[in-house]
């Protein structure tokens, strides 16, 4: 069985996926710390707009789109960054534009400015794009990605149609044909379908959108090629997926959804991390004590163990069936007494993730 530790030692890309609130970001950070201990040069990419990772890593002023190196006393390195969808998109436009003029036309377009950070799917696409760029970056040998907490977080696996969001967009396709025949913008906007759209959303909004897609012409080859490279990377042997869950019935169901999603894309879960498990404390005394104070402690112990048992049963549901590989390595991380928002707490999480390595 390949353990989480094996993955950490050999992978070049680790993707943490799971639903919101299960501790994905914390897990990604703890994996990064352990990677640095193993001597690897790791970079953790978070997408969480809530600056959770910055909180946990104690980065003053928060994380930015550029990687910052964290101050760790380890043989390797740990870097972290927070994905800025809009500026990643800007960079991609600059890299693929035929000339400065085309890049500027797109970047200044009002429609582009509106959608660059907000179009559905863009965030997932840019996360994949950034992952690809960091994988090629000579400063790092391991990229750990914390995916967005949404069901469509793994949409970037559906390449290239979802990945190349813009070039496969119906509006773009519609505009490209007439452009090749040399039609001008005002003619395009006179098409019945576009007229209809203009009626609904307003003429100037549509004009901006049309101008954007026209400025985009010629860049689709570069985008498509990049999309293919990302898919090759994600499907390759150097990439491993870590499924993160918490032991509640509803989040376990979500985890199963993610596992199925990966399987349908021909990928498999490399390891499972179940966070926030109620800890156990050893056997209760044979008899409930007579004194009221001790009896309350006995009841507490029994109640915590009952909760822990129920949680294990939910987690077993996830591992049953064919959603996950039979021998997938699963780690249970207990709820800590305090909140995980400091480096020390992260180190505690790490010691639970890698007990053998301590």
């Amino acid at each position: 069985m390949t353990t989480l530790h094996d993955h950490l030692a050999t992978a070049e890309v680790l993707v943490c996926c799971g639903s919101g609130g299960v501790g994905k970001t914390t897990t990604a950070a703890a994996l990064g710390m352990e990677a640095a201990r193993l001597g690897r040069r790791a970079v953790v990419v978070t997408i969480d707009p809530a600056r959770r990772l910055a909180d946990a890593l104690g980065v003053p002023g928060g994380l930015t789109n550029d990687p910052v190196r964290l101050d760790l006393d380890e043989p390797g390195e740990l870097w972290a960054l927070m994905l800025d969808t809009a500026s990643t998109f800007d960079g991609l436009v600059r890299a693929n534009a035929a000339d400065e003029g085309q890049a500027e036309r797109i970047l200044a377009n009002r429609f582009y400015r509106n959608v660059a950070g907000s179009l559905s799917g863009t965030q997932e696409y840019m996360a994949a794009e950034r992952l690809h760029a960091l994988h090629l970056d000579p400063r790092f040998d391991l990229v750990i990605v914390d995916t967005p907490p949404t069901r469509n977080a793994l949409d970037f696996l559906d390449a290239p149609s979802t990945l190349s969001r813009f070039i496969d967009h119906p509006l773009f396709k519609m505009l490209m044909l007439p452009t090749r025949r040399g039609l001008k913008v005002f003619n395009v906007a006179a098409q019945p379908v576009l007229k209809t759209i203009g009626k609904v959303v307003g003429g100037d909004v549509l004009a901006d959108a049309v101008a954007f897609f026209q400025a985009f012409a010629g860049m689709e080859t570069g985008f498509r090629q990049r999309a293919d490279e990302v898919i090759t990377l994600l499907a390759g042997d150097v990439t491993r997926f870590v499924l993160v869950a918490s032991p509640r019935r509803d989040t376990i169901e979500e985890a199963r959804f993610f596992a199925d999603r990966l399987r349908r894309s021909g990928l498999s879960v490399g390891a499972v991390v179940v966070n926030r498990c109620t800890p156990t404390f050893g056997d209760a005394p044979a008899k409930r004590p007579r004194s009221a104070a001790a009896a309350a402690l006995y009841d507490n112990l029994v109640a915590l163990h009952a909760t822990a048992d129920a949680e294990r049963a939910h987690a077993a549901d996830l591992l049953r069936g064919d959603a996950l590989p039979d021998d997938v390595h699963t780690t249970f991380v207990p709820t800590l007494p305090g909140d995980v928002h400091t480096m020390d707490a992260l180190a505690a999480i790490r010691s639970h993730l890698f007990p053998a390595a301590r």
Partner: protein
């Protein structure tokens, strides 16, 4: 004062909070409690997976998707030909792209229509996932800043009016009694007030481990009972501290829900949680 009085002060209540804080649980418990008070309640679920039907047997639950809401809106505003053409060419997506936020506006427009129908005393909306509550609620204002005419602008105007009117609409923020969720709730509350201008109801603190601290030294050091008690006490202290900090940093009344033992959320658990606020 009745802590649940707010459910009858505005017809629309939008439940908002980060992923994993228990928005759906809180929506279901509020619905159950409001029904016990004799209110006619509709629960609205956005896109996502249908979980509220199971949690609320016998309650009206409506699922609203952006494309269906847009089609319906155009249809009822004399634009049925437009709606048909857009639907047949699969171009709703194009419209949504050309005009960011339009999907949020038509969804909120549908909520407004349900509010105006007079069929319900309370329309409870299980808000969008993750950090999207602010974007979701800002969509109407954002669109009005760039678009002047057209049916969608008219829709945005109606939505913005509803959101700004505390007698019609309020937002129920949900959080957990832990450090990061409390920080996020305080930030989100400020953004909702300043940027959206929406009225905030009491904030709901979910999954609180209530109860007095255990007398851990009643068991010998190193024993399982002692360790379990110390763990439980640490959790309870954290929850009490964070709840107090939330009270300090956010000037809203608080409602709390206890942690659900056994980690199973079903209709029975919802009923039981509703007892906390509104004993039968």
């Amino acid at each position: 004062m009745d802590p649940l009085q707010f459910v009858s002060t505005a017809r629309v209540a939008i439940v908002a909070g980060k992923g994993g804080v228990g928005k759906t649980t809180v929506t279901a418990v509020l619905a159950r409690a409001a029904i016990r008070r004799g209110l006619r309640v509709l629960v609205v679920e956005l896109d996502g997976k249908p979980t509220l039907d199971d949690l609320l047997p016998g309650v009206d639950v409506q699922h609203i998707s952006a494309s269906a809401a847009l089609g319906e809106y155009l249809d009822t505003h004399g634009l049925s030909r437009v709606a048909k053409r857009l639907a047949s060419s699969g171009i709703i997506d194009v419209v949504a792209t050309a005009s960011p936020g339009i999907d949020d506006i038509v969804v909120l427009g549908k909520v407004k229509q349900l509010e105006r129908s007079g069929r319900y005393d309370l329309v409870l909306v299980d808000g969008p996932a993750a950090g999207h509550a602010i974007t979701f609620l800002l969509a109407a204002k954002g669109l009005l800043a760039t678009v002047r005419g057209g049916p969608i602008a008219a829709q945005a105007t109606d939505v913005a009016e509803m959101l700004a009117d505390p007698t019609r609409c309020q937002v129920v923020l949900v959080t957990l009694p832990e450090t990061t969720p409390v920080n996020e709730a305080v930030e989100t509350a400020a953004a909702l007030r300043d940027r959206v201008g929406v009225h905030l109801s009491p904030v709901v603190v979910n999954a609180v481990d209530h109860g007095p601290l255990l007398q851990a030294d009643a068991a010998p050091e190193g024993s399982a009972m002692r360790a379990a008690a110390e763990f439980r006490n640490a959790r309870r202290s954290l929850h009490a501290t964070e709840q107090a900090r939330l009270a300090d940093e956010l000037d809203l009344p608080q409602l709390t829900l206890p942690v659900v033992p056994g980690s199973v959320l079903d209709a029975e658990a919802i009923d039981h949680l509703a007892d906390q606020w509104d004993p039968r």
